[in-house]
Symmetry: C2
Subunit: 284 residues, 2 copies
């Protein structure tokens, strides 16, 4: 079964909209700091801007690749203190000359407005129980929630990535949900990789290795029809975008698989804005 982005985004959008309306926040805005002239960043910011418009709110893009750090900080503080500002994000990567300031700039964002989940305080609060997760790993879980595959209690989950933004927080969230978690990296011995592929009911991959999860891994021990394959991330080569999972050859065989393109990635923007709901109207 293919796990598709559209119904998930529709649900997230309608819930976000409704909550913003319920709380009279449709006149609010999200501040997006675009502090580089990176072309890809501009595209992402445009996508986010368009999504905000669909929600009925405004994306205030703060350009600043050439501005003083002091000035950027001042504007960040204004956004922190402005009740109409619903969320703040700093689009990464920053311009070269601002790279050394990245940590300090991110840390200035109020955890209550940090919809990207990049401040250490919000990470720490999530550790201690606050319901929050960064947009990309959360997007994968929104898809599982939508397809009623959310209950990982007692299940074996393999997380193929130990990145700070995807692998580690995802592993932590799965532990919070009571899963047994296998966290692997590029140094994991190949024979164990095979064994754990067989043993895992959920596999989350975010490595960029094209078709790391391929049908040759499947054998009589794999229990393949019971597996959920979450392909996180989106990479490109000369043949176009691809994922970690060779999904075309899995689609009919597994319980669920997210395609690339069309799975987790398009859900991240909707998740980013849904994080406004999480930060403002969920318990802390």
């Amino acid at each position: 079964m293919l796990l598709l982005w559209k119904p998930v985004v529709q649900r997230l959008m309608s819930e976000t909209k409704q909550r913003l309306k319920d709380h009279n926040k449709l006149d609010g805005y999200v501040a997006i700091f675009l502090l580089s002239d990176d072309r890809a960043s501009e595209v992402y910011v445009t996508l986010k801007s368009k999504y905000a418009k669909k929600l009925g709110i405004y994306a205030d893009i703060k350009f600043g690749k050439d501005r003083d750090v002091d000035e950027i900080q001042e504007e960040l503080m204004q956004c922190n203190n402005d009740l109409a500002c619903l969320g703040i994000l700093i689009q990464l990567p920053l311009a070269d000359r601002l790279q050394t300031e990245q940590y300090r700039l991110l840390e200035m964002i109020s955890p209550d407005k940090d919809i990207d989940g990049l401040t250490s305080r919000l990470f720490g609060q999530a550790w201690f129980g606050r319901e929050f997760l960064g947009a990309t790993p959360q997007a994968a879980l929104h898809i599982l929630d939508h397809y009623d595959m959310w209950d990982v209690l007692g299940k074996v989950c393999m997380v193929i990535s130990q990145s700070n933004l995807i692998g580690k927080p995802l592993a932590l969230e799965l532990m919070k949900r009571g899963a047994t978690v296998i966290s692997t990296n590029s140094k994991t011995p190949a024979e164990m990789f095979q064994e754990w592929f067989d043993r895992s009911e959920y596999i989350f991959a975010a490595t960029g290795v094209k078709h790391l999860i391929h049908p040759d891994l499947v054998n009589e021990n794999s229990n393949i029809k019971n597996k959920v394959l979450m392909d996180i991330g989106r990479w490109s080569d000369e043949d176009g975008p691809h994922g970690d999972v060779d999904r075309q050859r899995f689609a009919d065989k597994v319980r669920g698989v997210t395609p690339v393109p069309g799975g987790v990635w398009p859900v991240t923007v909707a998740t980013l804005f849904h994080n406004i709901v999480k930060l403002h109207w969920f318990s802390k």
Copy 2:
């Protein structure tokens, strides 16, 4: 081989002392808030106090089980701002009437003085790369460091516990060190437990289940002489203190095993005070 606490504590004590001396901090103090009349807590606080004395610094015990929350908070703030205060800890559990204030009180501690590692900000900073870990999981790693077993890069590590204070931060730290990590809980299927015991080079157990790791687990696939068994925590029953590992029957067979009593637990107090060094004189 038994991995013993004494040489580790000696090393930690001498390093802590030296650093305090180098930085002219031997006139400093650690503030310990004792906000209950829990008997075990009193014992722990006395142990910490004695250890401080050995270092040549002072443990200022702030009693407060009957005091107003406002007053406690004020004193916490004073300690945060006092340059002579090297570290702050709140001994848990709190008195019943203070339970609801626990999170707020802990969060007031400056991350730079939080030697217990219980503030969300410090957790978050550790996530993003600051070298810091709470006393109990860090104690286990100090032992590994001392016995030159610290290099877990590419190794398979099984962490049997998903607690916020031991299992989760330990799993995260092992990921930071490049290990493949298997994080299990009480719902992990038994047959996989056996398989992963065989596959793991390092096993960290902190469950309280007496002799969960027992010789019957060993078979021809276990590669037992290559294993390091870290028994974290200390529990008691009618026969006295025990650990998760039936170490008497492992001592001659494995690469390393920490005994209970006498392994990780007695290193935690020394680690707590060594965390002053980590927080003040390591890079942030």
